[in-house]
């Protein structure tokens, strides 16, 4: 029960980089990866920017038979998982398949695939709907395909909580380890840069309508006017400490030390939003005093009301300007279920390098009493990081990661 849970492998598929090396090279300097939508004709919509992963050819990474069966989100998830297992240095036979499981977060599932099948259904009729629709769209597809491809026969899980689901998945992975599994592949992915997905984002009412890639997604900035969707996600290998030691895990990035989650009260209740309680719960779970936290990876909604709520929660726990805060997702846009796992990757790399990546493009608003690491990266000893994620509908999740001595 008390054995620690360790991050022993990371894989990332983000607009700023496919693979950890490219991703971190871009993230550490805040290189913008938001640009005009290319995956479909977005010219008729008020929002036309996205964080897309360019140059991804699934056939270069995956068996040919898998490509027509899978949505882009699954292709990205499988490739990130391959990278994470390689990073973890897991050799075949190191662990028994039944000791390894997979828990992922999903937002909209294989949504582009689903939209294409809806189009066939209503244009051509039911007989034209693909057999693969029966498993390519549903929210469990990535967990299922990752298990099949990597022969992971242990416990499984799939959580949906918009952006917050990405952290909830990691917490469920830790529970699986505490119940006796030795390794859980976990993380989250989303990719819905397609016409119906766009309509959904627009309906949400928080999408930026700016057409300037550097000005569209500006959390904690006076000019904040919404978000830009991104695609991708990250896969994190979590291992039980003893098991990792026994197999001689070569990369031990950090301890997954604490977690907390709440749901905001019903709108109009007048009660405090739940983020502060989620943070306090995560810190208590980690046995960590707020003063020990070296950086907060913020959710960074980019919507003034939500930015204010988040800044107030951070200030309530850490005091005014009490801790460096960053939101490197300004380079990628908001990746739904993939966003927070990508931030976890950034957090453990920040620990490794001793550098806090910047919140690119943002000029911090004086209205918030937070120490935002804007524009330029900051050199700092990062031993403990707090990652926050909030989802539409009021989901709040917080994770504490701690460097190992």
């Amino acid at each position: 029960m008390s054995a620690r849970t360790l991050v022993t492998g990371i894989g990332v598929a983000a607009p700023s980089g496919l693979g950890v090396e490219d991703f971190w090279a871009a993230t550490r300097i805040g290189k913008n990866a938001i640009g005009p939508v290319t995956r479909f004709d977005a010219s008729s919509y008020p929002s036309r920017l996205a964080g897309e992963i360019h140059g991804f050819e699934p056939g270069e990474h995956l068996p040919g038979r898998l490509v027509p069966q899978t949505d882009r989100v699954t292709q990205l998830a499988l490739v990130a998982t391959d990278c994470a297992f390689e990073d973890a240095g897991l050799a075949p036979g190191d662990l028994h398949p039944c000791d390894m499981g997979v828990v992922t977060a999903a937002g909209s599932g294989g949504f582009e695939f689903g939209e294409n099948e809806l189009r066939k259904l209503w244009r051509q009729g039911p007989k034209h709907v693909s057999a693969y629709q029966s498993f390519a769209w549903f929210y469990a597809v990535n967990t299922g395909q990752i298990a099949v491809r990597n022969d992971l026969r242990g416990p499984t899980g799939v959580l949906v909580g918009d952006q917050a689901g990405g952290l909830d998945a990691l917490a469920q992975a830790r529970r699986r380890l505490r119940k006796g599994s030795r390794l859980i592949a976990t993380g989250g992915f989303d990719a819905s840069v397609c016409s119906l997905g766009w309509a959904a984002h627009l309906a949400g009412g928080h999408m930026s309508t700016s057409h300037e890639p550097e000005r569209a997604y500006l959390p904690f900035d006076e000019a904040a006017s919404g978000y830009v969707p991104g695609e991708g996600g990250a896969l994190i290998i979590l291992e039980d400490e003893e098991s990792a030691a026994a197999r001689g895990a070569r990369n031990v990035y950090a301890e997954f030390a604490g977690y907390g989650a709440t749901l905001d009260p019903r709108p109009g209740s007048g009660r405090e939003p739940g983020l502060r309680r989620a943070v306090e719960t995560a810190l208590a779970d980690a046995g960590c005093h707020p003063a020990e936290v070296d950086v907060v990876f913020a959710d960074g909604a980019g919507v003034p009301r939500l930015d204010r709520e988040e800044a107030e929660a951070i200030t309530a726990v850490f005091g005014p300007l009490g801790v460096p805060v960053t939101a490197p997702k300004t380079t990628t846009g908001r990746i739904g279920a993939g966003a927070a796992p990508v931030d976890v990757v950034s957090a453990v790399l920040a620990m490794r390098e001793g550098l806090i990546p910047p919140t690119t493009n943002v000029e911090p608003s004086p209205a918030y009493d937070i120490d935002l690491v804007a524009v330029r990266p900051r050199t700092a000893s990062v031993r403990t990081a707090l990652v926050l994620a909030r989802g539409r509908g009021g989901f709040n999740s917080a994770v504490v990661l701690r460097a190992l001595d």
């Binding site: 004709d41 008729s44 069966q69 398949p97 039944c98 937002g107 909209s108 099948e117 809806l118 189009r119 259904l121 209503w122 244009r123 009729g125 039911p126 007989k127 709907v129 693909s130 057999a131 629709q133 029966s134 498993f135 549903f138 929210y139 469990a140 967990t143 299922g144 395909q145 099949v148 022969d151 992971l152 242990g154 416990p155 499984t156 899980g157 799939v158 959580l159 949906v160 909580g161 918009d162 529970r175 819905s192 016409s195 119906l196 997905g197 766009w198 309509a199 959904a200 309906a203 989650a261 709440t262 749901l263 009260p265 019903r266 009660r271 309680r277 539409r392 509908g393 009021g394 989901f395």
Partner: protein, 423 residues
Amino acid sequence: MVARRVVITGIGVLAPGGIGVREFWELLSSGRTATREITHFDASPFRSRVAAEADFLPELHGLTGQEIRRMDRAAQFGVVAAREAVADSGLDLAGLDPYRTGVSIGTGVGAVSSLDKAYRAASDHGRLAAVDHTRAPGDLYDHFVPGSFATEVAWAVGAEGPATVVSTGCTSGIDSVAHAVDLIREGSADVMVTGATDAPITPLTLACFDAIKATTSLNDDPQRASRPFDATRRGFVLGEGAAVFVLEELESARRRGATVYAEVAGYASRSSAFHMTGLRPDGRELAEAITVALDEAHLNPSDLDYVNAHGSGTRQNDAHETAAYKLALGPYAHRTPVSSVKSMIGHSLGSVGSIEIAASVLAMRHHVVPPTANLRTRDPQCDLDYVPLVAREHRTDAVLTVGSGFGGFQSAMVLARPDRSTA
């Protein structure tokens, strides 16, 4: 530290042929079936035209006009079942710390019917290559990401603790309840409102199951179309509905004098890691999930009084499952009654696992095992005691319920009286 024991103290069910726990149990214990020709839409162009539909009028179940407009049918099911469960539990949630009440709601396919409707509206029935967002409903995002189901249930019951949707396909309804149990055991919540909901009877769902011939072709005999474990079975029959429970810690339930229906005593999930729709015939991963769930419950196979089967009625599943029972339970596979309520209420994908937990708990409450309807012709591959046609009076103190689904998901849960003697 003694692990906290988690019990079910409230039940709400909304199922085909029965809205509310009382009607639901009447249907199951009578062995009647709720499968029929599809009426939700014109199903004539489809290969499979039978489903178990719920006759649900949301305005009769306390939902406001605004809630009805905002929520997908599955979310509506979930909220109605959650309210029934909370009322049944007798808990005054408003009197508890809202941060200590959480929500875990399973769904297999989320708001698929609302997405289908939104697509049709915004694409002018597929005529527009790019959808016109101005014709899409204002709540489309909440259908796009079905985390909204957990939010709606939480708002309905006033929960502000950990909340999530669990979406592991056809095992979602077991896995969501198991997630809730974990949260109470570890101390993250004191009360969980948990269960699952799905409303998958839509053209898109029908079409994709047609394409792989997973659903039945027995269109001429709708009431007898779902035939789990029968030699003439031809695939599953889609269903819809929800079941939601109130879970709390045993001692606090006893202190307040609550009705304790059952302890959620054991659980495990495994992946067959084989194929997205195919199963290894030996059932080994499902068997392992069963064994681990029994271990966690400190029960032996001989302690089980009833096995509530997945029993979807596909050729592959029912044989796979039977093999798994033989592996996990040994001789007791033959000595324990096994039945599939999907023969009566169909297969509602992600929610059916929770509906089957409700059936299992009610079997314990009434000491009656619900039957497998429509089981008239023996299949040599399926040679267990499936309680054909007629419910059976049977002392029931411990039940195993299982789920198996696309993506390789295999889940097993053990429900038992908390005062049972343990192995």
